[in-house]
Amino acid sequence: MFIHLENLCFTYSLGMPFETEVLKNINLEINKDEFIGLIGHTGCGKTTLIQHFNGLLIPTSGKIYVEGVDLNKKGVNLKLIRQKIGLVFQYPENQLFEETIDQEVAFGPRKLGLPEVKIEKRVREALKMVDLDYNLYAERSPFSLSGGEMRRVALASILSIRPKMLILDEPTANLDPRGRDNILSEIKKIHNNFGMGVVLVSHNMEKVAETVDRLLVMHRGEIILDGAPQEIFEKHANDLVEVGLGLPQVTECMHKLKEKGKDVYTGVLTVDDAERVILKKIKNDKEINV
């Protein structure tokens, strides 16, 4: 297992008047090749949790291990951990600062002390991963790009470090529907083609649920649900609504049908799923009547 959390707790401003307990007793295991969605209401502790994954925050109590290394231990090489776990913050385009896209993406590998030949290779590779053409983009200023493109460059600057796992905090916030779909499909491609583990943090249920293999739902500093999206939508729809997350329209539709006594499968995530379930149900009913 890649990341392992044991009874992890975190409190902001410990011992101060505004002391706030943000994470409560979190136990979690993440494998290297997983594709995980971490969802929850604003303020539930999502961002605080992922900042523990690469040692940006140190737990108030409890343990966190990355590839078996205890991050609390004195003398741990956090630099090495941060190469293994690439963290892409919210609105990463705000972090762009170099004059050209080439320099921007090269910044990480250069800080690692790689020779120039290797750096260029990594820049080309990272830009390709986010579907930006090196020849067209390398010499342009990152500030001349659209919002969606800037975000892809920011993502490429993390990918050029070649992390084993990629953690993204609200990667689709403020993008229009096309920009959002592009980023999500690129992340999915990176996961599939390069075997990189991914943790996607979001409060946009709909799109995340249809993209990931495993869903973690947080509420008030705890992980309250953990499982395949279909399973969570089928069995725990009420919990999702209760913690203020809402359901995709098609899932809500299936649950309402079920409430009316119709025997339909409720673990649907997409319009495709819903169409299939409804057509099958209609067909079955017809056969019974005949």
């Binding site: 919002g147 096309r178 203020g244 329209q249 809500e252 539709c253 309402k256 409804i278």
Partner: protein, 280 residues
């Protein structure tokens, strides 16, 4: 111009007009907004939504064409402040528009600037807070509020000026589902109970579907306009415009094509459930 309160005629806007890299953000827009309208504007990034919104209270002036608010042309500099008082604005990021240290001071800020008497100011602040259902937070510090609450404070600040129009530019983009619902509920109430004309920009088609009219912009032009059930059934056009289609409408259209008698104009989950119950 009976009852037409915002009239937009051949409005075009070009950024960097005097420079080399001109960008035409709006291209001959014609639009009439009536008293009490409840309109949402959709469109992908760069389609001109925000540029259009900023013309409604003189934050931007037309490169060519005209826009009148209650018969006042926005180019008439003597009317700028009168127009801004009438057309309230709420932006995407609540943290950028809240300036005072308590909620009530923040709402009073605009009123103070136009020299309203203290007693009247108190009344207006309390009224605005009641409308957005935030009266119990009047002494709170804004940074301790949730995103949805902050946006409601921003709305209160705008309506305290007794604006007749409220332009909201993606007010829920940074909010979670609960915050989004809070803001939508208040916006509906403002339109219904206070008769404030609403112009609401959003990326979320589920939100846009709740308005009485939807306008879709593309490359600075109006690409689609009409009632939600007319606009959202044009799935192919919407996809070309880089927009989402509400899941329920897409499902209704697909089932309809399969010969199942469900109206392709279905926008609400409840209606879909009702229609389906006749079948299964």
């Amino acid at each position: 111009m009976v009852n037409i309160l915002i009239k937009i005629k051949n409005l075009s806007h070009v950024y960097n007009y005097h420079k080399k890299d001109q960008i035409k953000a709006l291209d001959s827009i014609n639009l009439e907004i009536k008293n009490g309208d409840f309109i949402s504007i959709i469109g992908s990034n760069g389609s001109g939504k925000s540029t259009l919104a900023k013309h409604m209270n003189c934050l931007l002036l037309p490169t060519t064409g005209d826009i009148w608010v209650d018969k006042m042309n926005t180019k008439d500099k003597s009317k700028t402040w009168e127009i801004r008082r009438k057309v309230g604005m709420v932006f995407q990021n609540p943290d950028n528009q809240i300036i005072a240290t308590t909620v009530e001071d923040d709402i009073a800020f605009g009123l103070e600037n136009i020299g309203i008497k203290t007693k009247l100011m108190r009344e207006r602040v309390i009224w605005a807070l009641e409308v957005v259902e935030m009266e119990e937070y009047k002494k709170s510090e804004p940074h301790l509020l949730s995103g949805g609450q902050k946006q409601r404070v921003a709305i209160a600040g705008a309506i305290a000026m007794h604006s007749s129009y409220l332009v909201l530019d993606e007010p829920t983009a940074m909010l979670d589902p609960r915050g989004r619902k809070e803001v939508m509920d208040i916006v509906k109430k403002l339109n219904r109970e206070e008769n404030i004309t609403i112009i609401y920009i959003t990326h979320l088609m589920e939100e846009a579907a709740e308005f009485s009219q939807v306008i879709a912009l593309d490359k600075g032009k109006i690409a689609l306009a009409g009632k939600p059930e007319e606009v959202f059934t044009q799935i192919e056009v919407l996809k070309q415009l880089r927009l989402d289609v509400p899941q329920i409408t897409e499902l209704a259209l697909r089932l309809n094509k399969r010969g199942i008698n469900i109206s392709p104009h279905t926008l609400k989950v409840e209606d879909m459930v009702e229609s389906l119950c006749l079948y299964i």
